[in-house]
Amino acid sequence: MSGGVDSSVVAGLLQRRGQPIVGLTMQLWNQRRLPELAPEGGVTGRCCSLDDVYDARQVAQHLGIPYYVVNFEAGFEEQVVKPFIDDYLSGRTPIPCTLCNNFIKFDQFLDLATGVGASRIATGHYAQLRFDDASGRYQMSRGADHSKDQTYFLFGLKQQQLARTDFPLGAYTKPQVRELARELGLPVAAKPDSQEICFVPNGDYAAFIDAYFRERGIAPEETQGEIRDTEGRVLGEHAGVHHFTVGQRRGLRVAAGEPLYVIATEPASQRVIVGRNEDLLRARLTAKDMNWISIAPPISPLRAQVKIRNKHAAADATVTPIGNDAARVEIRFDEPQRAVTPGQAAVLYAGDLVLGGGWII
């Protein structure tokens, strides 16, 4: 329970079904760390803030269910925050929510829930799950509310994780969920949605990384470098590769006759390569560490719609498995796609069905 509307409604729905439930909130990040990010001596970020824990506790009390805050700070820092920073420094643009889902929420947290006697966990994700008798697999499909669909972040879940998971909101739209919250009399019914990365205040992940470096005694110069164009000409300097992601236009501060975009970041040389919008178009990509959800690992090429970032409209492509168990795939889009970004995920869909996904390299 995050203290938000979605997970609160999940608790209310399950309780209405008469199932004995326990509310849990993950404490993931110490809000008192990195105080320079705090607005006015307050705490940083939104994640695990005392206000949210207060809200979650209020909901649990309203429903009359046992409620606990469980501490995953150490695991979160190792498995999510450090890889998140490493990715930026290695020229990739990470998805911390997926790392958290794979290694914390549906792993350590699921184990804790099982350990204290829960048969399943339920979360407020907008995604749908069903067991398919024909294939013997748990199949995932997009949430009924496509604008809220969160399957892009859930592509890493394995069958044994899905077997112990419920997404009770998958069939609802957000307005319906708010309506349910009011109907259930939940004290958070009118609470605004949150969008940003939970531990990064105001979405300014670069400022977060800078502050984390200062805490660790890493000098800022270590990440500074040149901005070059695709021909290798030096156009300027930048304050750190972690300030840039592929396709970004803002913050380059170089003068040029036409709009320039980040084409790539090169960690070894700390260079940021910029070019024209057309230079961002790619017709193919390779994805690694593929996790197959709704289908067994394919042995021959298949057609799918592929999303290369959360807000991307899935594009038609041919997906060719490479190696054993299709652990890697080559994806050829029918039409070139803008800003294929290493570190993001390529998630494969057949209509609403989530076939699987992997990491863009």
Binding site: V22, T25, Q27, C48, L50, V53, R57, P66, Y68, V69, V70, N71, E73, D111, L112, T114, G115, V116, G117
Partner: protein
């Protein structure tokens, strides 16, 4: 579901006789103890009766007792009040790393105001060595503060020896007795302390009442400012009903102490033996062998369960109806590893894998046996899923 409460070091329920005097004081003694009329005099009379009863628990004169809102205020008043009352230009304070936050945080506040503080570590058994205190003393040391009984392990500190060492150097001696009062016999004269804090709700009085013993002659400045209550050491209208309740609880505790503490010790040992026999890879923190280790309060046991998270075990037991505790709650309510266990030199993994069981009036042998069964079941269930524990057990086969 029946609930069994094994967290008496966190707080205790108000006992029936205490409740009765509390309610009757609320109903029948409505006056302000500082008023000069007869209603005020009646309240004052009840307040002083409570002061005598509470003083008897500590072996001090009633006038040496200042009522406070609880243990935290008593500790703050003792530390900040005595250091501020000392006009020496250079001041220094000694305490230990295993103190309650109600002592540690006033000390940090002193540091922020330019008074250096030395934090002594205990030995692996949790006991502070008076020699370490002696070595830390400086000519400008004005106060030594060492808790009497630790809240997490129950370890008793050699307060009398430490007080003698402090006095040799001309420093005052404060002891946080919150976890000792009502559990072990206390005589502040024999202990030789100058300041001693207690809290009512740890011995079956209500929350929100405590007291500070201030030896006659010890200079103390108030830390809050207001009226002339409590001999100008603690302003605020006296909480007569709660003081009366604490006085009653003190009298009951004193009378029952020897019988009750033997009873609890038998139950505590039954619990420890049961868990250590039934659950592999466990041990009592601070005791290298069963029955070994430093002296401790009869009701407290702190046990490690290698390879699992104490937090998960607390939740699992809670859902089975048993209230126990692990570490300390941070502001969100999540559990942080105990600074006491870390201070004793436990590895962070073992500190996180530790539970505190603290027994009290409501517990009996049947409950203890039920708790042992529940702990064995929960630990086995959690360890099945623990990557650290499979690693531990695998490595034993190598």
């Amino acid at each position: 579901m029946r609930r069994f409460y094994f967290d008496h070091n966190a707080t205790t329920p108000v006992s029936q006789p205490v409740l009765e005097v509390l309610v009757s004081a609320l109903l029948e003694v409505p006056g302000n103890a500082s008023s000069i009329h007869q209603d005020g005099q009646a309240a004052k009379q009840h307040l002083e009766m409570a002061r005598r009863e509470t003083a008897a628990l500590l072996g001090c004169e009633p006038k040496e007792l200042v009522f406070t809102s609880g243990g935290t205020e008593a500790d703050n008043l003792a530390i900040l009040g005595s250091v501020r009352a000392n006009s020496a230009p250079q001041k220094h304070v000694i305490t230990t790393v295993i103190e309650h936050p109600a002592v540690l945080n006033p000390c940090r506040e002193l540091e922020r105001r330019g008074v250096p503080v030395t934090y002594i570590r205990p030995g692996p058994d949790g006991a502070v060595d008076p020699h370490d205190i002696r070595r830390a003393l400086k000519p400008e040391t004005v106060l030594v503060s060492v808790m009497h009984a630790n809240n997490e392990t129950g370890t008793l500190q050699p307060i009398a020896e430490i007080a003698a060492v402090a006095h040799d150097a001309g420093a005052l001696m404060h002891s946080d007795g919150v976890q000792a009062a009502g559990k072990i016999p206390i005589d502040v004269r024999e202990l030789g302390v100058d300041l001693y804090s207690i809290s009512g709700h740890k011995f079956y009085a209500p929350k929100g009442i405590g007291a500070l013993y201030v030896r006659t002659g010890v200079k103390l400045r108030p830390i809050q400012f207001g009226g002339k209550h409590e001999r100008e050491r603690r302003p605020g209208t006296e909480n007569v009903p709660s003081a009366v309740a604490m006085g009653k609880a003190a009298a009951i505790a004193q009378e029952a102490m020897s019988v009750e503490s033997s009873r609890l010790e038998i139950l505590r040992d039954r619990l420890e033996t049961g868990i250590l026999l039934r659950v592999p890879d466990t041990g009592v923190n601070g005791c290298a062998v069963i029955g070994g280790g430093a002296a401790r309060t009869a009701n407290t046991s702190n046990i490690y369960f290698d390879g699992l998270e104490g937090e998960a075990l607390v939740i699992s037991l809670d859902l089975k109806g048993f209230a126990v505790s692990s570490g300390s709650a941070c502001s969100s309510g999540a559990v942080e590893p105990s600074h006491v266990l870390l201070g004793m030199g436990l590895a962070p993994e073992r500190a996180r894998a530790s539970l505190r069981f603290s027994l009290g009036a409501s517990n009996d042998a049947e409950q203890v046996d039920a708790l042992i069964d529940a702990v064995a079941e929960s630990a086995a269930q959690l360890r099945k899923l623990s990557p650290t524990y499979s690693y531990l057990s695998d490595s034993q086969h190598v």
